[in-house]
């Protein structure tokens, strides 16, 4: 873990930019922790959506809420060909590619393997920090491309206690891999879909929810387009993670 630049501190949240090298791949990331933290705490790994990056609004917002409201740590990394990855460029989102028939270079089983390794290395490195700790609990949050890579990661990572997935289905060039991994996944999951998703039609998403091997799963469906997840649904996903990671029902 190589720290890049100076920490940003605001309203009790410390944000630190890092680079990690995994099998010769440069993985740029950000870790968020409470100011003054020096003891272990829960950690949530956050995967961003296609054509976005590790500091996009909803990632930053979730990370800061987890730190400020629950004294958790959070970490996000750029996906392959995204953000500050070497050679990253304006890549197609998965949905765009389904619509145009042009597959983005990153949507392959091999890239999925790489990203699963990147997440595992990130979890290793960040949980080695004294202000995070290796004892967990650990959670994962990622919708859309954050599920394309995140579902295989969650299925392969026994250290995770709970995951938020969704805005994806059994569809696309890695559909076979996604379905096989879903059938291995025994981690508690909240799964989010949009009824009018113009990129991944709802039946594909329902099939993916149904394929999840875990018996501890919840499906939340809202009206509207792929990117129109309501604010209170974001809050519900945060509540789900905190309830599962802290082992307590959140007030309300």
């Amino acid at each position: 873990l190589e720290w890049i630049g100076d920490p940003l501190v605001g309203r009790g949240v410390v944000e630190r930019r890092f680079d990690l090298t995994v099998d010769e791949r440069l993985v740029p990331g950000i870790v968020w922790t409470p100011e003054g933290a020096d003891t272990p705490r829960p950690l949530v790994l956050i995967g961003h959506g296609g054509s976005l990056h590790k500091r996009v609004g909803y990632v930053l917002s979730l990370a800061r809420r987890l730190v400020r409201h629950h004294a958790y740590a959070a970490v996000a990394i750029d996906g392959p060909s995204h953000g500050e990855r070497p050679g990253a460029n304006a890549t197609l989102s998965a949905g765009e590619s389904l619509r145009t028939g042009q597959l983005p270079e990153w949507w392959t089983d091999a890239t999925t393997d790489d990203m699963v390794a990147d997440w595992k290395a990130t979890l290793d490195a960040v949980s080695a920090l004294p202000e995070v700790g290796a004892g967990g609990p650990f959670g994962y949050w990622g919708l859309s491309m954050g599920t394309i890579f995140g579902l295989p990661f969650v299925a392969a990572e026994p250290r995770l206690t709970a995951a938020v997935l969704g805005l994806m289905g059994i569809v696309g060039p890695t559909a076979g891999r996604i379905e096989r991994d879903a059938k291995q996944l025994t981690t508690p999951v909240m799964f989010v879909l949009q009824s009018d998703d113009e990129l991944f039609a709802r039946p594909y998403g329902l099939a993916l929810y149904d394929a999840l091997a875990t018996n501890d799963k919840r499906l939340h469906v809202n009206p509207g387009a792929h990117s129109a997840v309501p604010v209170d649904e974001y809050l519900a996903t945060e509540r789900f993670l905190v309830e599962r990671l802290s082992g307590a029902v959140v007030a309300g």
Copy 2:
């Protein structure tokens, strides 16, 4: 509104049994309010499931939580042929009847009309109490048979601000009525389904959710049988009603 017997008071909740007469039908009900309440407050109307009654565990529990945690009022009435209605007997639930092909006497469009009138009269009578008030806001909560009768009531009652419905679909002897009413329903709704519902298969439920005319609707799906709604889902329905009725996001 004729009060029956003495109020029950426990842990700050006053429970009062009443009878109401609507078009010569005797409608037995219970109203719950905070101890000492003498000013207006939000009211939630709670419909019970088939073969059950107005004081079954989950109705009582929801009513008491609404009073104790939010200082709301709540009211429940027995459904036709249920509880303390004259001539009530051990009636089939809707699900049982679908399974056996024996329709219960209450599952008709005419009984639905009666029950909508009973709910409207109940809302009129209870909102005339000074400790409830006619200003609202008012909400409805009812799953399974509580949706068979409740959905038509919600569609017909403009005084309602939000509703929780579910464990039902476009199916059964009143399916046509249910579908038509859903297409008129513009109240915000949280809709709950069980993936392994042995009484109302999930596709019928999805079709009913999709038919709801309101754009402000949420679908929550859990694994398990008809009666296996998880405890935290009950809490989520309560949170939805309180957020919509109090106009504030509940902490958590």
